[in-house]
Symmetry: C2
Subunit: 415 residues, 2 copies
Amino acid sequence: MRPVKSVGSVGSPSLLRQINSAAVLRAVRQAGPVSRPEIARLTGLSRPTVNDVVDELLRAGYFLERPPDGSTDARRPGPRPRLVGFRADLGYVLGLDIGANKLLAVVADLDGRVLASERRRAFDLSGADEVLRAAFETARAALGRAGVATSELMATAVGTPGVVELPSGRITLAPQIPGWEGLPLAERLAESLGRPVLADNEVHLALIAERWLGAIQGAEDALYIQLGIGIGAGILIGGQLYRGATGAAGEIGYLPLADPGSSPPDGVGQFEHAAGGRAFIRLGRRAAASAKGALLREMAGGDPASVDAEVIFGAALQGDPVARGVVEELVCRLARGVATATALLNPAVVVVGGGLSRAGQALLEPLERAVRDLVPVAPRFVLSNLGDEAVALGAVRTALDAAHDSLLTYVRQAM
Amino acid sequence: MRPVKSVGSVGSPSLLRQINSAAVLRAVRQAGPVSRPEIARLTGLSRPTVNDVVDELLRAGYFLERPPDGSTDARRPGPRPRLVGFRADLGYVLGLDIGANKLLAVVADLDGRVLASERRRAFDLSGADEVLRAAFETARAALGRAGVATSELMATAVGTPGVVELPSGRITLAPQIPGWEGLPLAERLAESLGRPVLADNEVHLALIAERWLGAIQGAEDALYIQLGIGIGAGILIGGQLYRGATGAAGEIGYLPLADPGSSPPDGVGQFEHAAGGRAFIRLGRRAAASAKGALLREMAGGDPASVDAEVIFGAALQGDPVARGVVEELVCRLARGVATATALLNPAVVVVGGGLSRAGQALLEPLERAVRDLVPVAPRFVLSNLGDEAVALGAVRTALDAAHDSLLTYVRQAM
């Protein structure tokens, strides 16, 4: 006889009321403010059951019923039904993006509506304590602007570079921020912001945001590629973020796809060194310093050392063959890593985000073409449309999920 | 307001009986013949509920109750409880492995007990029709030995190289077997074997077998690497096989990790060409033909062209530096691909199977060491222990799941 794990506890009739309440909560959480007939449709519950559950959650103060929006639906004349949503002042959530060069804090209510945000550049920070202090100040500024007290936070989530151990929220690998490695990030933030604080890798959260509000809403199997100074990937499987056995899934920067001409410094992965933002600028500056690099030099104000990604894409857009060669070389290097992830994972769609994605179709089209040449089954390519807010919005979504889960626990205990 | 998918239909009280029956069926299917108290423990159901459901399934003829095995449990004196299992003659399943050079058919009962198998080499077959005919003959021989009629088959599953589209079971990519590409494999087999026939990629099924009976029983996040003439990978996520958006997940042979000295022929992926069984033999024969390759030549009967994997590993085991160099070169090439998959997926464990894995620790240890040097977070490495029966056993497990699902449907309809 083979060993077997428990297949899970199942059913007494009282469990049904909890299942029904959970289904209604989930529908309102996923759909935002929504009418009772729509809840019945989304949950498959009968109208009387929906009414029972909604009335109970209204009485308990979790839900609020409000008139519909001003717009009328021409296809369905007559009065439109009222909308059921979370009571907005029941609590709030905070999403934080602690990056290698920026801080962003976003405050939202339980319906996922953004109330305020605060942004700060963080190039000048050194050491974990200084970064944590700046992050807390950024969060406090956003909370202040939203008129939300720290005590009203139901949950906080934070995205950051590196590998984050779950559920502890400890950073286990992070060459990007000095002193970050080994930091119990979630615990340290909870000291000032209260519990729970959930920490995760920034690319994981960006993927969650793209699926929630961005370029791949409702996708099942997708790959998010973040192209910036660092290179990272987020893996969506069956509509869920895949974190890996120890939170390190998607560490595409470490792929053994080296730049034959140059070895990476300590802590930087081979693929990131060969195809990341720094490699792009290295290639651009070398080209600008060459005899044929006149346009690149000119657009960089005469100094090859001032060439950046914007200058290279700008010159390429003007038809400069040297700049185009640089973009082609980068695309060729990037394509090997993206093709690798595609051959392994067979995603339906690849979303490209991060700083380099601001180049838009000038990057996406040649990249898609190059990947298609390398893999047996090619996915669709789309650009991220959340810009550099993706990580903070993914943190908001993660904090919302935690807040909704704790609501569900209260409701269960009350039944 | 954001669009939202249905969150699933939930509950009426009659649903509870179905949930309970499904839980009991699942426990018996996962644990094999099992006592009523054990079913209660596995499902979390009360003893009276378990008795109700089991009695109903005994009356309906799905279950059979039998005395316990002869052995006694010293820790628990007194009579041991009777065991509940599927009625063995309720129906049978067939697992088929249609490989590039072998056919294997395995017949099992609904408890997963293997009743008979039949093996045949298939080097000499050309064309899809001939392969299909030989596969059917192999299946018929196994069924005959088991005393099972085709009409008693509740489900068949088949593993084969290439990309298999689901749920149709059509082959969309298969350079390994001439005429295989485009073949509606499941449909063609169903003409002789009856429905349902489920087809899937051979490496996917090998992974299912390793989790069922092999080296990674009960694993959650794992990677299966098949090293033979071809190179393939199977991805286990949350205890489930991940097939990808179109069934092509794990096509690691197509990773863009080329052998710099040699281009792959049409249809063969770069990584497979650089690090597969043929590359190993190519390297070994070249070494055998060199001045220092005396031992390799001798062990191959004097002819460098007769060097194969066994000869190379054998000479390396005897300490021959030339053979050791060949193994080192292969391991170095393989490690890049395995490191790639590991960096992306962060599995807890990597299982190595396929023909080359017969070399055992002589391959596994240096491979593990080389991968560890390339990735930030290293997994555990283990050898497959199902040998070349893994694909057929994975097919048996897949067919069992389909048979059990159809049983569940009958039970639901009867309630």
